[in-house]
């Protein structure tokens, strides 16, 4: 889940969403979303369920039939390493696969059945997420929080320049949350750009450098302490974008009225 084009970390890219539309069937998921993520920022995207947060990430990953422009401005002459941490991973618990095997499948070019690549230090990555002693554990036997930590570990191999996180704290336990905070601090120190979809507003206020409210459109964008005022948050989560008719124009009017 991390794309490696080689090279040393040289700071994260800026991300530019310019009038991005996404319509699936007749449902408008994203409507003229324009957003800029600064290089090295920890940019949180908050919003209600179905507000298009995950779809924004899918558009950024090139997995959605979006319209408009999504552009990554990498420092240097070549794209750097993008790491993606999904919300959850569909996984057969009975699969006889160790944590290390799982990382090998995701992170190395060498076929995983030939064993983990010795050049890649899976141990160090697991140590950073507090899973050092569990590299031989069966992946299916891990708890939800541990699995989420392994997903975080795969994002560290190789060292990423851009990290895309889709609600990583949902499944994390308390220890995991602490580890996640440390990782975010490391990313910030390294100048890595982090795009972080999150619904835990307290964590966002504490950890993000910038926050955007997304409910099909960008409702606000700014530094968390200013943006996450109770009124704005209430507005964000009370706006009901869905209309059974599916008519985008009508829905927009409703949304304006709600705001």
């Amino acid at each position: 889940m991390s794309g490696n084009t080689g090279g040393t970390p040289k700071g994260g890219p800026a991300i530019l969403f310019d009038r991005v539309d996404l319509t699936l069937g007749r449902t408008v998921i994203l409507d003229q979303v324009s957003l800029r993520v600064e290089p090295g920022a920890v940019h949180a995207v908050v919003g209600p369920n179905g507000g298009g947060k995950s779809s924004l990430i899918r558009a950024l990953l090139g997995q959605a039939p979006h319209r408009g422009m999504v552009r990554l401005d990498w420092p240097g002459e070549a794209p750097g390493v993008t790491a993606y941490v999904p919300q959850a991973v569909e996984f057969d618990r009975g699969l006889p696969m160790t944590v290390e095997d799982f990382l090998a499948v995701l992170c190395q070019r060498r076929p995983a059945f030939l064993g983990p690549d010795r050049r890649i230090d899976y141990g160090a990555a697991l140590e950073r997420v507090g899973m050092a002693g569990k590299r031989r554990r069966r992946f299916g036997a891990l708890s939800g929080g541990e699995r989420q930590r392994v997903l975080l570990a795969q994002a560290l191999i190789p060292a990423p320049d851009l990290v895309i996180l889709d609600e990583p704290m949902t499944a994390l336990d308390e220890t995991g949350c602490t580890i996640f905070e440390e990782l975010l601090a490391d990313f910030r120190a390294a100048g890595t750009t982090v795009l972080w979809v999150e619904h835990d507003l307290a964590q966002v206020r504490r950890l993000a450098t910038r926050v955007s409210g997304l409910n099909r459109r960008v409702l606000f964008d700014g530094p968390p302490p200013a943006m996450l005022s109770p009124d704005r948050v209430l507005d964000l989560f009370s706006a009901v974008p869905r209309r059974t008719t599916g008519n985008a124009g009508d829905a927009r009017v409703v949304e304006r009225a709600a705001l």
Partner: protein, 188 residues
Amino acid sequence: MHHQIVRRAGAERETAWVLLASAAIIACAVAAVGLRPAPPPEPVAAAHQIDSRTGLTSAEQGLHADLKVAGAEIAALLRETGAAPKPAELAAQALPPFARDTSATARGSHAWTLAEAGHGVAYAGVSAAPELAGSMVLVLDTHGKDHAEPQVWLKRAAEAPPPGLDEKTLAAAGWKQVTATFTAGVTR
């Protein structure tokens, strides 16, 4: 600064490549068909010739087929006996078209006579009903090669062929040589 545009997910490029490949295949096929040399033109029959498949009536076609068989038979008899059999003898052997049977009547009741030709023998059959089948001449070249094809000449009139019975005199008298041409239209 490297600008990376994230492409939308979709099959546009794949579709374009497939269409391009299809267009290339069709272009190759069109080029192959277009550049293939045209089939050689069908041999045009000379003025004194008539095509056995397209130029003859059904009675004439039957006579022509019989005469070709009879020609081989007569050539064999010529080699055996050294003398050309008379039409009456051939009729006695019931060899069509010399035999006097119902099909001979239906095909114009030709009166066959033996005639000396320049290089061999000829059998001239004068038709009693030219509208059914014209008069016919079977020319056998006995001096040439053994397997020389017998020639069949036709004139749609109740008249005997001119003496001499070579190509020039027959053609000059308005007779036509029955020929078989092999063209693209031949399917069997």
